[in-house]
């Protein structure tokens, strides 16, 4: 069978400083892409290595992508981090860099002109990618409300507004800010906070939010039915819902005393908080940060 395949590749080429020196603000590149099957919720995948991602739900059927390239390669904070990474380099890497510098002796480096942004549509999945090692980019993307999102950014913020579909989002350095979302949501952020304001909580599938260094701050509708499984290793848990934290039910018993061993009982290490009698399962994992569970006003 001939595979029906709709493949659209937009390679957006942008030229550096000289070209845009006169522009007041960095110029935006814009691409409009439609899903091959607009009747079904499509998926948007974005993979970024620095910069920011903002996704907004809107009334239309197409996906509108706007990319603004940053003037500098990296922001100040990012430069600091790059310096730190420099210090942490091991001998092997330093030797490699020295060898490269020796090779390029007496020559000057040319700036790479392509920014390497690619937009692709295949089987109702639109993927947006930026080549590694290029300038940071701020992406603003408008999507139909029901779109499924898969967003990842190795350094920088991710913002999502008004999207009802499943959201899978991770950023090494947050913050991750979700507003007017319904879930299911899987978010993970190692060095920043996660903030999620739910318009409602889609029942059925479980959700999970994990932050290592930052806080987790979620706002749920007052009448939501939810079972929160909470793990806060070092932080505290705050809420204005009428609920209690109870150790969860799973229990393991071990008796090795007959063989000269020990006896121990272990409980599953999460706590459970039922809101309005319990319902959709939401896991909150924080390591250092606090967890805030707010009731929507």
């Amino acid at each position: 069978m001939k595979k029906i395949r709709q493949l659209l590749i937009l390679a957006l080429l942008l030229f550096l400083a000289g070209f845009f020196a006169k522009a007041q603000e960095p110029a935006a590149e814009r691409a409009v892409v439609s899903f091959s099957n607009p009747a079904k919720p499509g998926t948007l995948e974005v993979g970024l290595h620095g910069g920011s991602i903002t996704v907004r739900g809107y009334e239309g059927k197409e996906v509108i992508i706007e990319a603004r390239w940053r003037e500098k390669l990296l922001t100040r904070k990012e430069t600091e981090l790059a310096e730190m990474a420099e210090e942490e380099k091991d001998e092997e890497e330093i030797a490699k860099e020295k060898a490269q510098a020796a090779r390029a002796k007496g020559m000057k480096a040319l700036q790479v002109e392509s920014t390497g942004l690619t937009v692709e549509e295949e089987e109702n999945v639109i993927s947006v990618e930026v080549e590694l090692g290029k300038r940071s980019v701020d992406l603003t993307i408008q999507v139909p409300y029901s779109t499924i999102l898969k967003l990842s950014n190795s350094e920088g913020a991710i913002t999502v507004e008004k999207v009802d579909g499943e959201i899978d989002v991770n950023s090494s350095e947050g913050p991750i800010i979700l507003t007017g979302v319904a879930g299911p949501i899987l978010a993970d952020c190692s060095d920043g906070e996660i903030k999620a304001i739910f318009s409602k909580a889609n029942p059925g599938k479980p959700m999970s939010l994990s932050a290592m260094d930052g806080d987790i701050d979620i706002t749920l509708p007052a009448d939501v039915k939810a079972s929160l499984r909470i793990k806060a290793e070092e932080g505290k848990v705050f809420t204005d819902f009428d609920t209690q934290l109870t150790p969860s039910y799973q229990k393991k018993e071990e008796d090795e005393r007959k063989g000269g061993g020990r006896y121990r009982v272990a409980f599953e290490r999460t706590s459970l908080a039922l809101i309005n009698g319990g319902g959709v399962e939401i896991k909150l994992n924080a390591y250092e940060g606090n967890i805030y569970i707010r009731k929507a006003k």
Binding site: E88, K89, D90, I148, E166, D168, N170, G183, P184, L186, A187, D188, S190, K205, P206, M207, S208, L209, S210, M212, D213, E233, Q250, K252, E254, A266, E268, R269, T270, E281, K283, N285, Y287, E288
Partner: protein, 272 residues
């Protein structure tokens, strides 16, 4: 005014309940549109026919039927009353056998309760068929949980896979396949949240040697600092001494997150 809007007005038009403006509009449209004229004619024909239908008069038989029904109802009520007094008779009969003193009443109820429990226990334990059936049923539920878990773990959506991990933690005695699937999830799943859930699920099965070994080996494969932390915590908690080597190896990595390094050092101290 188009055909659709005109036809909406027909009912009002026929009973004469339209204001002058609408009336004029309907009439202009009718003059121009033969289709609507035809529609109105057939409607008004039905309307007049409805008007001349004779009014239904109750027949004399109706009166008779009504009284027969009333009589039947009265009879039914009478029967109900006699049945109630029969119930009272039964309870009086039971009362004669009931001991007067509360102490005896209490003793009697204890005896009845004990014999009920004993009988139930005897029935369930002395019938191997039932016992076998229960074991088979338990096994079936276990297998079903496993099947659901494995199916969901292979889905594309991360929240489905998370559900798969949650299902697997309901299994009382997981077989090798389920344990292996969970370990694969821990090592290869693209989503950090799913991997973290796999750590929690595997914690419940740590007394299986396969799991202990898998957890130790997994440490080197993890790239997310959060999963690394969760794994170190787990290995320290189950006092897995083989983890010492894995932890030392992990700390060789120069790019290790400072917090993970700190925790790994603490873990090493606790384990050795």
């Amino acid at each position: 005014m188009n055909c659709e809007k005109t036809r909406e007005k027909f009912a009002d038009y026929l009973v004469g309940d339209v204001d002058e403006k609408s009336l004029a509009e309907v009439q202009t449209h009718l003059a121009a549109c033969p289709a609507c004229r035809g529609e109105l004619e057939s409607l008004s024909a039905i309307w007049t026919k409805l008007g001349v239908l004779p009014r239904e008069q109750p027949s004399s038989a109706l009166r008779q039927r009504f009284y027969a029904m009333l009589e039947a109802y009265k009879e039914g009520m009478e029967k109900e009353r006699t049945r109630a007094s029969f119930g009272q008779a039964v309870s009086r009969w039971v009362k004669r056998f009931m001991p007067r003193r509360p102490v005896y009443q209490f003793a009697l109820s204890i005896i009845l309760l004990a014999s009920g429990l004993g009988g139930g226990y005897w029935m369930s334990s002395n019938r191997p068929a039932v016992k076998r059936e229960i074991t088979a049923l338990k096994q079936e539920v276990n297998d079903m949980h496993g099947l659901v878990a494995v199916t969901f773990l292979q889905k594309a959506s991360p929240s489905d896979r998370l559900m798969g991990v949650n299902w697997s933690s309901r299994i009382a005695e997981p077989d090798e396949k389920i344990l292996q699937t969970l370990l694969d999830t821990l090592n290869h799943d693209l989503n950090v949240n799913v991997r973290l859930a796999a750590v929690d699920a595997l914690y419940l099965f740590y007394n299986y040697p396969q799991v202990r070994e898998g957890l130790v080996n997994s440490l080197a494969q993890q790239t997310s600092p959060h999963v690394q932390l969760a794994l170190i915590d787990l290995l320290v908690e189950i006092r897995e001494r083989r983890a010492v080597e894995a932890l030392e190896e992990l700390m060789q990595n120069k790019k290790l997150h400072s917090r993970v390094r700190q925790r790994a050092e603490m873990g090493l101290a606790q384990l050795s």
